[in-house]
């Protein structure tokens, strides 16, 4: 098997995205950069990305709801982190 990136892998998972109602929001906080850089490294879904302009992008669709970013940003007021509302988010068919 050839190496697969997270984007391709998330393509096989089942999601129901709550468009317009993100369960994780990056609060505009300039002190949050260091915490967010950790999320770029460790997010298992690879949803935090370093953009060319140096900003950190985030896409909540594809979230596996593991909580890694919540822990990495704890105490920094970087994220507003909630579970997706019922019927939304990832649905594991195997688990």
């Amino acid at each position: 098997m050839k190496p697969m990136g997270t984007e391709e892998k998330l393509g096989v998972d089942k999601f129901s995205v709550d468009e317009g109602n993100a369960h994780i929001i990056i609060l505009k906080d300039t002190s949050s950069r260091e915490a967010l850089k950790k999320c770029v490294i460790a997010c298992p879904a690879g949803l935090y990305t370093m953009k060319e302009d140096g900003n950190i992008g985030f896409d909540f669709a594809g979230c596996l709801e593991c909580g890694t970013c919540r822990v990495l940003c704890a105490g920094t007021e970087t994220l507003s982190w909630n579970y997706p509302q019922g019927t939304f988010g990832v649905e594991f068919r195997y688990g």
Binding site: M1, L64, G67, L72, P84, G86, F92, G95
Partner: protein, 434 residues
């Protein structure tokens, strides 16, 4: 929304919450279980090994009706370097039949089955509902606020079984001292790779329907504190890897890159060759053990399972601790109803009973190990490497007299780790594990 008052609210339909709910519903308590997923299991992740004894304690003879993959008859440990493996394992036919030792399972199917059992026992299971907050009155937890309109629900006791990322325990209740620390948690990823049943049995040397497990350390985690695993399901293989969050960040390694690295290992690649990826999963695993445990009870509330950080990482046990903690909480709550006393003193018995059981005893026993491994990650690289050096010499037949061979092995090992350091490692390992 449900307006009436319940005896007990359970937040989360995993093994801890459903174990508690089943125990209480069977005793006639009026129980409501909230689950945020579409059905129990749809948000739940584990490597995939379910232990028979703890599961049977809650659901007698579950193997006769529950959806299971394979009974595990062979368990292996692999110490890996980049191109070699030292293997240790145990296989027994005794594990192939009743009463069994463990099974591989898919949580999406197994938890759903547990949910049905809980409903049959008389509990109300409400899915697709997030519990957003705790309702307190005069310092006592009296209910929860759900994400539904008019979503307040009241009960005498609330059981928090929210999983490792327990916002209620950590924020609403404040029972976790400080934040859940990044060096107390591992991040793990897993893939389910479909393969024909016969192919799995041929590759793993298994008879019809029987299963094997492999736990892997060393190169699999690039020497970070963590493990990888390969478990056989009926028509698929679960393969995954996890490492401490702090190590991943400091080493700038993404969990998926570790997994891809693992899948490319020469000893692992042939096991999954030709398979089709069916699902990709990520999850946090509590690795802080005893030190990371929150206070397990409050006024009108108890914490069970992963929400209480009850995982024995060294022995890859979690679902069994979840089931037993849920059952124990259920029994204590039943007693509280008999006495009509839901005060903090009454629920304190839950923590006491867990402390007297293998659940907390095991976590206490290994309480220094996570800190020790955290500070000595070289053990996860060095020892697999030393095993490879020694075994390579031992298995190479090259006309060198055996006496000389032994000297070569010792010299090569001591080059990597001086005698004194090895002795110190062994002593410390014995201290933290013995």
């Amino acid at each position: 929304m449900v307006q009436e008052k319940f005896d007990v609210i359970v937040v989360g339909a995993g093994p801890a919450g459903l174990g508690a709910a089943y125990t209480m519903a069977n005793a006639g308590l009026k129980v409501i279980v909230f689950e945020r997923g579409e059905h129990p299991g749809s948000k739940n992740v584990m490597g995939g090994v379910l232990y028979r004894q703890a599961t049977e304690d809650v659901f007698p003879e579950f193997w006769k009706e529950a959806p299971l993959e394979r009974p595990v008859i062979e368990s292996n440990y692999w110490l890996t370097t980049d191109d070699a493996v030292t293997k240790y394992g145990y296989r027994s036919q005794e594990f192939a039949g009743e009463p069994y030792n463990s099974f591989t399972v898919f949580r999406s199917k197994f938890d759903r089955w547990m949910g049905r059992k809980v409903e049959q026992a008389g509990a109300l299971l409400i899915c697709e509902t997030v519990v957003e907050d705790i309702i307190k009155k005069d310092g006592k937890v009296v209910g929860v606020k759900t994400g539904r309109p008019n979503g307040q629900v009241y009960a005498d006791v609330v059981v928090i079984a929210e999983g490792v990322n327990s916002i209620l325990t950590q924020e609403a209740l404040g029972l976790q001292k400080g934040y859940l620390a990044w060096d107390y948690l591992a991040v793990a990823v897993k893939e389910v790779i479909a393969l024909p049943k016969e192919k799995i049995e041929d590759r793993f040397g298994l008879e019809d329907g029987k299963g094997a497990t492999i736990e892997i350390i060393g190169e699999a985690t690039k020497g970070m504190v963590g493990t990888a695993f390969i478990y056989t399901n009926m028509e698929s293989i679960s393969i995954g890897v996890g490492a401490l969050m702090s190590h991943l960040v400091n080493r700038k390694l993404n969990p998926n890159d570790l997994l891809e690295n693992l899948k490319a290992h020469p000893a692992i690649k042939p096991l999954i060759a030709g398979g089709e990826i069916k699902e990709y999963l990520g999850h946090m695993i509590p690795e802080g053990g005893y030190k990371a445990m929150p206070k397990l009870y409050g006024n009108g509330v108890v914490i069970v399972g992963d929400a209480a950080q009850l995982v024995n990482g060294l022995h890859r046990e979690g679902s069994n601790l979840a089931l037993i903690s849920g059952k124990t909480a259920g029994e204590v709550i039943i007693k509280a109803f008999e006495k009509g006393d839901f005060s903090i003193n009454s629920l304190a018995e839950y923590q006491q009973r867990l402390t007297d059981s293998f659940v907390v005893k095991d976590l206490q026993k290994y309480q220094h190990s996570s800190g020790y491994f955290e500070e000595h990650p070289e053990l996860f690289y060095l020892y697999p490497h030393l095993a490879s050096i020694a075994n390579k010499e031992f298995f190479t037949i090259d006309n060198i007299p055996k006496k000389e061979k032994q000297r070569i092995i010792m010299r090569k090992v001591f080059e990597q780790r001086p005698k004194w350091e090895l002795a110190k490692d062994l002593y410390k390992l014995w201290r933290v594990l013995g």
